[in-house]
Symmetry: D2
Subunit: 293 residues, 4 copies
């Protein structure tokens, strides 16, 4: 289990250096931070330290790479434009992230087929699990294998949380559909600072082995998404808790008995069971167990 933590945005050299130190001290294993940011409004006044020019992009990426190296943390940075991928590679970013708004960005995904860097491909908020896997498959279609899945919240009937963190999707991915590692991002998945702790732990229990957490030296002054960033003390406690939940999950994973191990037996005793449970009058009943209620 790997915890990736850090601020929503790289905001300045002192900010990312301090963030990296806090991430390291918390026990997390990698540093995240955006250099070019998605913003739902073009008038937010802040689209990331690297958004205004190619030079700004270079400088911003260098800051987080420097911070990562200083504290021995590999770095995870989101890419928005296919033509920036080689810049990320050249400057030494360790892992590329595809954000939710680009989950179906065909040009970007096609480009990522060719990067040797691992890619965290976040699930789009309107994608069914199987449809999501087809977009992930796009990155892997030519043989790329180092891809990591990530659930960060989808659209649902719930409006209280910013998004609905689909842990059932994580369980389906991990236990039924894919051999790729699955991440959970409860920061975007809830959008509420005080729900990040419990939902991250629940995500691990559901099947996640990668954890993404937004944290900031002082989230109250963060330039973006501060409402969902953890305070440093919270991050440290959460990393500790993550380790304990992960240990428990590993220990009790063996309690789970796949249905495939049992179905043969129960199928072979179906007639006997029908007789015992339902008696004579059920003799002619067709097997009705698969009808949906």
């Amino acid at each position: 289990m790997t915890v990736v933590a850090g601020p929503c945005s790289v905001e300045s050299e002192p900010q990312i250096m301090e963030a990296a130190r806090l991430v390291k001290e918390s026990g997390a294993r990698a540093l995240r931070g955006g250099v070019v940011k998605y913003r739902s409004s073009p008038y937010s006044g802040w689209e990331g330290i690297g958004s205004n020019s190619e030079e700004a992009l270079h400088n911003g990426l260098k800051l987080i790479v420097k911070a990562g190296k200083e504290f021995g943390l590999p770095t995870v940075v989101e890419v928005l434009d296919p033509y920036d991928v080689s810049v990320y590679e050249d400057i030494g970013v360790d892992c590329i992230q595809v954000g939710e708004p680009n989950s179906k960005n065909q040009a970007l995904l096609n480009r990522l087929r060719d990067t040797p860097l691992p890619v965290i491909h976040k699930r789009g908020n309107s994608l069914d699990i199987e449809a999501y896997l087809l977009w992930v498959e796009r990155v892997m279609a030519n043989g790329k294998e180092n891809v990591i899945l990530c659930e960060r919240g989808i659209l649902s009937a719930n409006k209280y949380t910013r998004n609905t963190l689909d842990l059932g999707g994580i369980a389906a991915l991990h236990y039924q559909l894919s051999c790729l590692p699955v991440g959970v991002d409860a920061s975007h998945g809830t959008g509420i600072r005080d729900l990040v702790h419990s939902m991250t732990l629940a995500g691990i229990m559901a099947g996640a082995s990668l954890v993404l957490i937004e944290a900031h030296p002082n989230p109250l002054i963060a330039k973006s998404d501060g409402f969902q960033g953890l305070f440093p003390e919270q991050l440290t406690q959460l990393v500790t808790a993550c380790e304990q939940v992960w240990e428990l999950r590993k220990r009790i994973d063996s309690l789970y008995i796949p249905s495939a191990n049992l179905e043969g037996d129960y199928d072979s005793r179906a007639a006997t069971d029908k007789k015992r449970l339902f008696g004579r009058e059920e003799k002619s009943t067709r097997r009705a167990s698969e009808q949906k209620g």
Copy 2:
């Protein structure tokens, strides 16, 4: 933490007696079983053992009450019609369940104000968490207090699982919005037998203290929803796992630091932090942390 387990439907006396024995042996603490069933099609041919007449309802309820008494398990039974509530009370059902399709059934909810029995009120699949709490409030409006919340899956972008189990909703209910106990029903919440185990455990980690599990002596011959019912061996293992997850959650609950305990400090050092992290040029910046990305 309380585990309620049992078949979707009471199907016969031998079936519910055997189910009750298996539930008892698994370590679960209460017995569930429907006597009148929701069916999405009127042509399913099975609407529960008690659906055809008042006499059938009496007899069906007596079966599960008898099974519960035999094995020392309180019983949980769903009610569909306001005029049946007193029958449930008279026959000795221990807890009444309001199912998802009736989550907004005003006549039924109004009637339940007057029952002394505890009520498990399942969340409707299109209800936002706060809207759901208003419907729950309807049952409690005259002073009734023994009401239990229950998340069993909502509508979302995911189609792979039968419903989307909104564990973020459970976390919000338990940690932010309500002092009522919160249940998780991963059987309906996933609709896939092999996801019930992990999603139940994740639900406990997210904040649930009541667990509803469908299980059947032989789910392959169940008359309804057999595809999501656990085999007896799976139930036993899951109850064991639930206890371990619950123990861990209790032990690590203290690791969580509510933001309210930290915000004062971080707010008071905001100016200093801005200077340290952003230097002079940020002086005039308005606090931007609450802007949504």
Copy 3:
């Protein structure tokens, strides 16, 4: 095409009499008005003029029936409790409505099998069109035929309107799935007074032949849902517009050519068309037209 109009709630005798007069003058053909109301909060202080006792229910129903008779308008009233159906019949309500929150209320739907009155069964906001038809089928399962479908808005990605009026669902019901008449309720379907006009007209164009419109002598003082009720002048204009749209739809319905009338021809020329359009190199192409993009 039939327009049913009236206030959300019957509020007093003068109110429903004045409403009925305005409905009649507008050219609408039936009068709607609730006597017992759904309220999402139990603390709204108003659950309809007939909500507090059986006597209140009788008196409330009598008011709208009287108003309908006075102005020659059949009446449409929503029922919430299966045990009230016979009261509605006895007092002379002309048509019973099942509201959205009761769309899956099995006990109520089963009861309505036995009423001779026509039933407008509104679609639940989380129901797929085919799932909805199964709940409608429940009312009709014993042979009842006078049932009317009604789309009033479902859950979607849009939050601007109160609900999302699924006109594609209306088109599917009318042109593909059912011979029952289909209604459109743009008042609940938008929840915005100024969108009711255009969305009602669009609903007719999509296939609706019944129109439900909330209107009030003065919606600014309505006890419930006044924000979506039309002013009397708006109602009159909308009824006029409805008639013109209906006339046009009838006139141009013949322009529509069902695919079934053409598919045989185009299928038989598929090989020739492939050769003409794609030339030799496409010879071996499997028919790819049904692949989803």
Copy 4:
């Protein structure tokens, strides 16, 4: 009102020439056709005639531009990669389309600020109307004005249609929120050939002034999305019907009375109306009309 019609994909020179001729004969006013295609699976075997190389892109774009010129039809082509925009401009495409999967593609939208070509920006299937307008605003942020909105279906509770065409969103955009022209794409919005006709007409009635229709010389042999493409005869009839619906809408637009024209009057008579409708006992009632039901 402008009808844009054409095949999902440009498949060959004879195909796009024949398609253009049929579009012209139908009375539609512009030609659409994709040269690089979105595909939800990377293994579909067809990603558009221009997908494999820069040369292929050039050749594909030239085909549709040639077809458009031959028949006097301006061309609308979707762009997927920001670096292709100038190629589209150079080859003479008349209008650029941003497809649903790219609705939140920040890099692409930023790039489109600088094109002189009109842009049709399709709404993402998970975007609320107001959130959508913010992404559209991104294209316009530096002063670009020739942008066209387009509803093509969103995520909802309905599964019968491929997407849910949110005509309420069109009405809100046209009548309340924006002065930009609004388009309707019922081909993607329903995904069912036989619903395109009625839903296009309903879209015009709801407020659309641009109509996008997929049609193909023989949709049964189309390489992509053939299940939703119209047969040529259907296209011709639909264009005729569109013109009649548009004429009616123009003629009856004046029947609509904005609430703002009436609210002053009704507000000023609120006290009198309360007395007349509710009598003395309502004196102390606070104005309750804005309570949501």
